[in-house]
Assembly symmetry: C2
Homo-oligomer: 317 residues x 2
């Protein structure tokens, strides 16, 4: 047990705290995909979650966990993706200020979504250093609380509630749950929920070959960078953090990599057969299951569909 | 009361009969779309139904209602769309023969779907006369039971189960349910379920301007043809039948027409905001609600998303 990691009660409390602000997303099934995979698949549809991704859970729990005084100064983060929307949405729900640092080359649709929640956007050059220094200045000036997209226990605890619901709502005991891994917020939360609420359920991760830092870290025992970054799964480009990695190392069974071709193939199955809009990162778990049929044969497999924020004008099929 | 129309018990029996073979599809909600419509919307996602459309319900109930002897001769229909798949799927579930007449210009993807269920396909020219005479010959030769896509009480009763579930699963009493209308199978079933299970709920229909036969019929009191046929909603081209029309006339409050532009706009909201794959016909109900905001303001509105079978390579946006 990792002493500092969120315990069972923390996850239960987080779930109660965020429930008024989230969707209890449905679990969908497909006999076609069951046959294809050779197992029984339970798809937890976090693409239907508020802001179109599981990130709403972690953002909400982090913001709701702040004291009244902390809330009065607002929250800040840097992100061009779903975490930006999650923090903007969470702040809007509580009527507090959100300061979001976005790269100046962010897609217009993502900028508009963040603006739509009333957040204050600061643009900067798209380098990690610029993003961090820009948000640091805002924090110093405003007193806002910085909320990291994944390396934050309140965020991890929020993300854990997706797997908790999946475990509670599936009509069978799951043999496996599989989630995608980027910075590891969803994966570490998933691993904790399985550990506490369904200890016999193994947790796997799916990771793009073109951002394969987590599998390297998992093998070497220390946080590694990806040898190269080139993948369509643009939500999974980051590397693990010092809070997510120890949980993953202790509670995750294995990390399975998939090619972009396999991700696109899985994505197409989800769109055509399940009739759901899924972003590439959200299809990585199914891709990993379909690539490793022998490993999962006849198992009951919970698959976390992490998000659905995709530009309909730029589909890869 | 229409004496021959299915009664409450018939719908309850149909629901029990088909339940093992269908998905109890989820109801999704969206605060964004609530705000846009000015009411509270409950989306019944029949795009997630078996074969990707509500038609599985009617097909199953019709096939399951046959005697053992009738089943032994199989079932037959003509359709290039969702009803073909519904009958093929239903027959496959019971291990009986299905003879499907399809126009020789049917899309390859629809032919493959029907073949995938093991049905026997006969191709013919794409005229109503050719389709009817071809299926008639098959029925005479094989003894198979012809199952009409909508003008059949067992089909209507099966389609009624979608609204029954919507009424049971919505967390509030619905003021309105709205469904699209083509031949009227779904609409008449919806109207019957509202009448029996939630009598204060009004039923409306959405219809494309480019296939506006039902609204004409509703006004004139007799079954009319559309003045012209030109719409993207290719599931709604047919006119009403002598079994569907009297039910619609008695239990439906009004039929609201929408343009293709409005259908495409609603479809885009459903894809982008709800993250669901919906075919044009499936977006007609939402289009009608968004076009008639004054009529539905502050109401609780059940919207039947009828199907999601769309060619991803040919999106209208």
């Amino acid at each position: 047990m990792i002493e500092t990691a969120p315990n069972k009660e923390k996850i239960q409390q987080a779930h109660e705290l965020i429930t008024p602000y989230i969707h209890r997303t449905p679990i969908l099934t497909s006999l076609f995909l069951d046959d294809l995979a050779g197992g029984k698949l339970y798809f937890k549809c976090e693409n239907f979650q508020k802001i179109g991704a599981f990130k709403a859970r972690g953002g909400l729990n982090a913001v709701l966990s702040l004291s009244a005084e902390e809330r009065s100064y607002g929250v800040a983060t840097h992100s061009s993706g779903n975490h930006a929307q999650a923090i903007a949405y969470s702040a809007a729900m509580l009527g507090i200020k959100a300061y979001i640092v976005m790269p100046d080359n962010s897609p217009q649709v993502k900028i508009k979504a963040v603006e739509g929640y009333g957040a204050q956007i600061t643009f900067c050059k798209n380098t990690p250093e610029e993003r961090e220094s820009t948000v640091q200045k805002i924090v110093e000036k405003t007193g806002a609380t910085f909320i990291h997209p994944f390396n934050n226990y309140n965020v991890i605890t929020g993300q854990a509630t997706a797997a908790k619901e999946l475990i509670e709502d599936a009509d069978r005991k799951l043999d496996v749950i599989i989630a995608p891994v980027g910075g590891g917020g969803l994966l570490s939360g998933t691993a904790l929920s399985a550990h506490y609420f369904s200890p016999e359920t193994k947790v796997y991760a799916g990771e793009p070959e073109g951002a394969a830092d987590a599998v390297l870290s998992f093998r070497s025992g220390k946080i590694e960078r990806a040898p190269y970054i080139k993948t369509i799964a643009d939500g999974l480009l980051t590397y693990l953090g010092d809070k997510t990695f120890p949980i993953i190392r202790e509670y995750v069974t294995d990390i399975l990599t998939v090619s972009d071709e396999e991700i696109i193939g899985a994505m197409q199955y989800l769109w055509e057969r399940m009739k759901i809009v899924v972003e590439p990162s959200g299809a990585v778990s199914l891709a990993a299951v379909l690539k490793n049929k022998e490993l999962f044969r006849r198992e009951k497999i919970g698959i976390i569909i992490s998000g659905g924020n995709v530009d309909l004008g730029k589909l890869p099929f």
